[in-house]
């Protein structure tokens, strides 16, 4: 990631999982063997398949992708927003209120099990008509949402 992108987004790896017993373990075992630290993991499950999304430190992204692909997984890297949400009642709601009033849709979200200062780290996959994700990120930041940088993630 370069320039402004680096400043606004963090890396995420999405992995296709079949609805088979043991398929998630195959993934975690593989990353464990390679010494890759999972900072967050979330699963979207449907009746037919699952998508697992993981966050790792920047130095591990390439290694994780290579390991997964070698093992036969379909894995893809993309960049998502990570927001620091106040760790207090109505903290999340204040952020979602901003998202809603900006006519932005949430495709999915999940949290990292880490705090930075007094902020909970939330991965947000957002979309809006006629807006790039850079514009979405800039808009949220302009309205006071704290965007967590990849370098902050790397220090976790």
């Amino acid at each position: 990631m370069e320039g402004k992108e680096k400043y606004m987004f963090i890396n995420q790896i999405s992995v296709y999982l079949e609805n088979n017993k043991g398929s998630l373990r195959e993934l975690t075992k593989l990353l464990a063997e390679r010494g890759i630290d999972l900072l967050a993991l979330s699963i979207a499950d449907t009746t037919n398949f699952g998508i697992t999304r993981i966050v790792v430190r920047e130095a591990d992204v390439e290694a994780a992708l290579n390991a997964l692909r070698e093992q036969g997984f379909v894995a893809k890297q993309n960049h998502v927003i990570c927001a620091g949400v106040p760790n207090q009642p109505a903290g999340l709601d204040s952020v979602l209120a901003i998202i809603e009033e900006s006519s932005i849709s949430i495709e999915y979200m999940y949290s990292l099990n880490y705090l930075i200062g007094n902020k909970v780290l939330m991965v947000l996959r957002l979309s809006a008509e006629n807006m790039s994700k850079e514009e979405i990120a800039a808009l949220l930041e302009g309205k006071g949402v704290m965007l967590v940088k990849q370098e902050d993630i790397n220090r976790l």
Partner: protein
Amino acid sequence: MRISENKIYNPEIECMDRESMKKLQNERLRKTVAHVYANVPIYKERMDAVGIKPGDISGIEDLHLLPFTNKTDLRDQFPYGLLAVPTGEIVRIQGSSGTTGKPIVSGYTQNDVDVWTEMVARSLMAAGAGKEDIIQVTYGYGLFTGGLGAHQGASKVGAMVVPMSSGNTQRQLMMMHDLGTTMLCCTPSYAIFLGESLKEMGYDPKEFKLKSGCFGAEPWTEEMREKLEELFDINAYNIYGLTEIAGPGVAFECEAKNGMHVNEDHVIAEIVDPSTGEQLPYGESGELVFTTITKTGMPMLRYRTHDICTLNEEPCSCGRTHVRMSRITGRTDDMLIIRGVNVFPSQIETVLLKVPGVAPHYMLIVDRVNSTDRLEVQVELTEDMFSDTVSDVEKIQKCITEQIKSVVGVTAKVKLVPPKSIPRSEGKSKRIIDNRGLTK
């Protein structure tokens, strides 16, 4: 109510002695060969290529001299290249699946429709049909020959026809119950499904007046016959046909339920060795080949069905003299019949190649769940198809499902599997796992 008075529709022809039948076939074969040689360029070219003139064919002994016709010819000559008459003489088009995206079609003159209709009438009457019957046709109506074929035959015997077409189980059973349907024309697997649904919907089987059924358009087994006869308390009869030759009724079972009588005054059946094309004697198992001898619109010389069976010339207890073919025990190609629809793996390949990002590696898995065929198409997921959101992946899955439905005509369950998980074998890869146990 397994009462059936099985009559013979055309005793003069159906019980004709073998010698006279042979004479009739010889005469009609000579006429057909002369007709196609004069009117269908591809037949002339092929006969010329092997140095055969119509005059060299004096009867069925010379049949083996004629070149074969294949399904690929119907594809290559699509739509009118095999017609032996001007299109103005054609009154009907019927079709079925081709091996690629396009269907194959067959053109019928009024004579051909009449010939076909009589073949179905004979079949239905052999299954007990008559003027007093109420015949429910549950085959699909349309290009598929099942619906219209059964309809025409049922009308010909003077029965009351209930043209339900396929699907809508609840309505099928309601009409069957309320109208007092006495005969069912249906694919055997859907008939079993109907039979099993009957009790679930709160009907008492005794309230039904069904006495027999003509089941075809897909291979089935003796076990399925027992099940059907028990579920509905009926006699279940097998009927065979293919669009290229006519449609259902090319061959049919009589009350003996021991092989299907081939309508030999209209078609000549042969069994050949699928690899060498050599004619095999009656009783030996091989590929069924048909030559039509009364069709005028699109006659077929030695059409290879790819169906494997045996022929039996022994006299039948019903009095009919026409040769009997056994149940189909297999295919020489990889065609599948899913819920009555012919499916070729190559069609699925054509579809996959059209969807961006999809690799043409696939596996077809066929199962029968609750008496209904289920087709699962496993497709390898590529990174181009994959995304971090569920909706994007589901969109691809839906797109493939819809394409298969539109090109192949069946609804399949599309399963995305990891790349390289489908085995690659040298040469022709194995694309099908059929768990239905229909063929031996």
